[in-house]
Assembly symmetry: D2
Amino acid sequence: MNKIKVGVIGATGMVGQNYLRLLADHPWFEVTYVAASPRSAGRRYEEAVAGRWLMTTPLPDQFKDLIVGDAGDINSAKGKCSVIFSAVSLDKEKVKELELAYAAEGFAVVSNNSAHRHTENVPMLIPEINHSHADIIPAQRKHYGWDKGLLAVKPNCSLQSYLTPIHALREKGYQIDRIIITTMQAISGAGYPGPATYDLLDNVVPYIGGEEEKTELEPLKIFGTIKEGKFIYDQSIQISAHCNRVPVIDGHTACVSMGFKGKRPEINEIVEIWENFTSLPQLLDLPSAPRQPIIVRHEVDRPQPRRDRDMDKAMAVTVGRLRECNVFDYRFVGLSHNTVRGAAGGAILMAELLTAKEYIK
Amino acid sequence: MNKIKVGVIGATGMVGQNYLRLLADHPWFEVTYVAASPRSAGRRYEEAVAGRWLMTTPLPDQFKDLIVGDAGDINSAKGKCSVIFSAVSLDKEKVKELELAYAAEGFAVVSNNSAHRHTENVPMLIPEINHSHADIIPAQRKHYGWDKGLLAVKPNCSLQSYLTPIHALREKGYQIDRIIITTMQAISGAGYPGPATYDLLDNVVPYIGGEEEKTELEPLKIFGTIKEGKFIYDQSIQISAHCNRVPVIDGHTACVSMGFKGKRPEINEIVEIWENFTSLPQLLDLPSAPRQPIIVRHEVDRPQPRRDRDMDKAMAVTVGRLRECNVFDYRFVGLSHNTVRGAAGGAILMAELLTAKEYIK
Amino acid sequence: MNKIKVGVIGATGMVGQNYLRLLADHPWFEVTYVAASPRSAGRRYEEAVAGRWLMTTPLPDQFKDLIVGDAGDINSAKGKCSVIFSAVSLDKEKVKELELAYAAEGFAVVSNNSAHRHTENVPMLIPEINHSHADIIPAQRKHYGWDKGLLAVKPNCSLQSYLTPIHALREKGYQIDRIIITTMQAISGAGYPGPATYDLLDNVVPYIGGEEEKTELEPLKIFGTIKEGKFIYDQSIQISAHCNRVPVIDGHTACVSMGFKGKRPEINEIVEIWENFTSLPQLLDLPSAPRQPIIVRHEVDRPQPRRDRDMDKAMAVTVGRLRECNVFDYRFVGLSHNTVRGAAGGAILMAELLTAKEYIK
Amino acid sequence: MNKIKVGVIGATGMVGQNYLRLLADHPWFEVTYVAASPRSAGRRYEEAVAGRWLMTTPLPDQFKDLIVGDAGDINSAKGKCSVIFSAVSLDKEKVKELELAYAAEGFAVVSNNSAHRHTENVPMLIPEINHSHADIIPAQRKHYGWDKGLLAVKPNCSLQSYLTPIHALREKGYQIDRIIITTMQAISGAGYPGPATYDLLDNVVPYIGGEEEKTELEPLKIFGTIKEGKFIYDQSIQISAHCNRVPVIDGHTACVSMGFKGKRPEINEIVEIWENFTSLPQLLDLPSAPRQPIIVRHEVDRPQPRRDRDMDKAMAVTVGRLRECNVFDYRFVGLSHNTVRGAAGGAILMAELLTAKEYIK
């Protein structure tokens, strides 16, 4: 099979670099185009990231000689690829326009950016949870008059540490109607350079701008339904989030208290549900899908970001410390890798899903 | 006034060293006795802590030549002091016996240890909250047949970051019936050496043995009442705690969601209550009392442990981020210095309170 | 005595804030003027640093209502103070001009900036080492045609951890002709925000731009002599420095190997020289002078930045691990607090020296 | 080819776990035996390390059911393997005896332990440097009367960050006669639990017991020659080392100043020598050999432990910042992964070399 040609826009930033790192040996996709700001445009990719390649593995040779395009110039991508992974960091309104413009030109746009997360016909996908939301794409295309183009987005990294375990229980018929979450989030989530050492050494910062709102609102769309080509948000669950920045390189940890409405499962049943949970990405054996999406640790002190973030290609969610809650029903701790599962890796998995569903060809 | 002679048992550990540091220039108390394990007994204090004085200020000269006693040998303290600050770390049952034995010999025992926290006639004091609990002492003395001896204990460090703000609202007539807390606790809370760097660098550990139970149960006694010489625990509040260890030297941070029963105050009223809160320690102008027990920060990203832990002799609780909660009523972040407010400093304040109330003479 | 009125320019940055913190209760100096960039000019100081007061003690009340001047506008300082502490961070050539202009207007300018460190008639002072260099000021005034103005500068923070111990040995007649140093420097030396957490968590960075050159060259002027109103650099010593950034908040550590020319002292003699070393600041009992400028630690593993940086108002140099070197004669480890001894505190001590010598009146 | 059966003694500690991790898919070796202290003996390996598997990849399935032997009981290893990787941590004299006893029983013993590093006929190998030292084995066998047994050891991790670059220059005929080194060493070098967070957060510790002596002495044996079945130490080079512990998980950094005797190469020649350096492990294409043993980084601020430690299976040495030294000739910074290149990985490479040379069969 010929590989599908993909481009990465915003390719010089931290998320962009993660895309390239993860796509280097991808069995279905081949990076044939990279773009960034006009400042980098026209340079070889290797030069453009000289002194700021942030990955701990070397820049793959295959990308060194790619000439960086101007992410704002859609024409420069034409003919070079059919999929655009968007990791641009611009003003939100500009991103909105730009991503629509790429889609209008026939590109399948898969985005990390938050700009279109609440656009009414744009799916926000965690493939293990709401893969069926991809099926809004025909309606989306019809609405915008696009032929081949499409736009799909990834939710915020902070919620990936707890939402799949919640979903797995809902799917078995257990209703969870209230969740209080406290996250301890890694610095890589803030991009580069991100927080100053002066702010995080011997310290934690109990605030991340905009993060609590995303953590509380985005799940309602993910758990939502499609009606007449638009997403209807789930109204059955209330979420409250405290988001903290901690001195951890990668891996967001979430302490979760959850309350059930109606009957609640026993602890051993929850463990069983989690350990046996699989979904369409596993059934389709998508290249980036973790074999086991939820890993349950039975030690008293896990999950921990440094020890668990890299499990199963850094695409699994690790949970532990499931126990009774004095106020709600149960408590647990969840963890996921924010720049892989929660960013570039999650987006690549989305693109794989869209390919398997033949929205991307 | 002649200073009251005090002894510190467990004087060579981290809490013991903090006692000495804080008592070095105390206006009411004078350290005349130190004791530790038999291994250290008989040595000059300076020698006993050679190479393991952990404070960042030098060992005060006045303590260097004190001869370390055996903490297990009550006779060696006799005649040397009338107050015993207990920071021993032994088996819980041994501590129970030992502290009672000191009190039986006429010492006023003020303890950091958890052994007697739930003994039915032993007050567990946060002086700004339940100073009146000190008045169980006559009943305690009567029960045990003690003449001058007494036993009072300090609660766990983890709850000091949120309990005074909760109390200040209750005192104004607002009932809070449910709290979900996530703490991010400093390593000094685990004593020395405490957690390995290998476990906490680029990491957080979502578990501290026994800490969640203490954080949930101890407030119920603190908010309790005295009946027939025993404490009756408060039944009106449910508390759920997630306790995490983070790479911070000193200062426990707590993310709190609280729910009110009946009417709830407005946000500006809460701020006003907190900023104006004072209690008996302030009224009595106790030497270790913070002038303002609750400091409210209005920046979006405070409190932070490194920046706020030392406020007002490290005895104040700093709060911030008061805002609505999607699930309960309000959320906030609280912070206190765990080895000062939450340990040695809090215990010294207790001893000051007991002195002002003339239980210690 | 009436206090001398001083101004701080560059007052909103990290060094500027340290100046204010240290000058809050100064017995000789009173801060009557603060200035910063035009962006801050005209605002109350409290507002100007709202959300970016970086000290761990609160902003002293006395500074809150000072109206921030424009550091580039010398007129706005006139009549308000006679001493200017310069912590501006501008282009080097601009600083050069600006500091000369302040001096020309009659201000005594004491600067942290590196711009004039190698100006031929500007003294670069570590008061315990080369206090006599202050006596170039009459020649300086004559050269520039200044009446009351003067300009004196502080050397780089990195060399303060090892130069006083070297000087103490030279002063006793021992010639040291070669030194190889490796520093491990704190992040506060880079100002705020300084290095990203992403660069320093679980990492060290073996490079600080310009730092090695300063560490190697500045001592030659400090050890130099005055001839015909100009400084002649010392030629007798060769210095090689490796400068590293490590994840430490405050405190620069230096590993030093030193070689003697001619006779060399015994180890116990060196210790004795260091422990007994005092200089003019101690003789004059200057307010910021450490009582003992060099503290020798005898434990095998000291000095350490977190444990030793605050010794003697954070103005002492702490040394330890003095031992034979396989290649040169001896090795030791030195440590000093970079933002106090190595920056604001050192500059205040200089101003005190200049006051005692009556160059500042 | 049938794989060679190997055992790991001291298999439950940090180095032992690294052995297993690295040997999991080894093309030549198969782990058929593990042993540890009597406390662990008799248990399944998975149970023996329950709650203390320290690697960030899961425990490989193939090791879970291995029954842990008693490392002190040589009989229990018999028939199970022919190579013993020793990572025991016992009293030095006991290790000496034990390793000799294993060799006497016919095992090829490859050790991380320091006990036999200066035994006169035991090779201490860095395969890229002194692979020819392996050829002392026939003399060793003759001396001890061993038939198939042998004993070879790995040097200390601290010197691997700089010794290969030094060797590469010596090999080209350049004599280096003096080196002053300052290391900044990772905590994993101290095993688990290793240094307390309380000692290394916001801190560095300028001392590691015994480390400087090893860093200075071991290179002299590695650069030595064999005469009459014994090692003669190199006398031509003087080494002085300052060893520091820094808050880094893995990766030792070394700042090196080196002086040449006789002619010295130009900087570009040094770079060329380093970049082109290969040795017997590369020629033999040993499975664990890095393709390029010395990687030269040209950025001003590299190497850095977090960014460079994993290069080429974590087996390469990365160097950078080559520049003139004011006191000696040149300076550079070297870095290697201490638990891979400097411990388990280096030992496995040694075993591969001994296999290629047919001392292990």
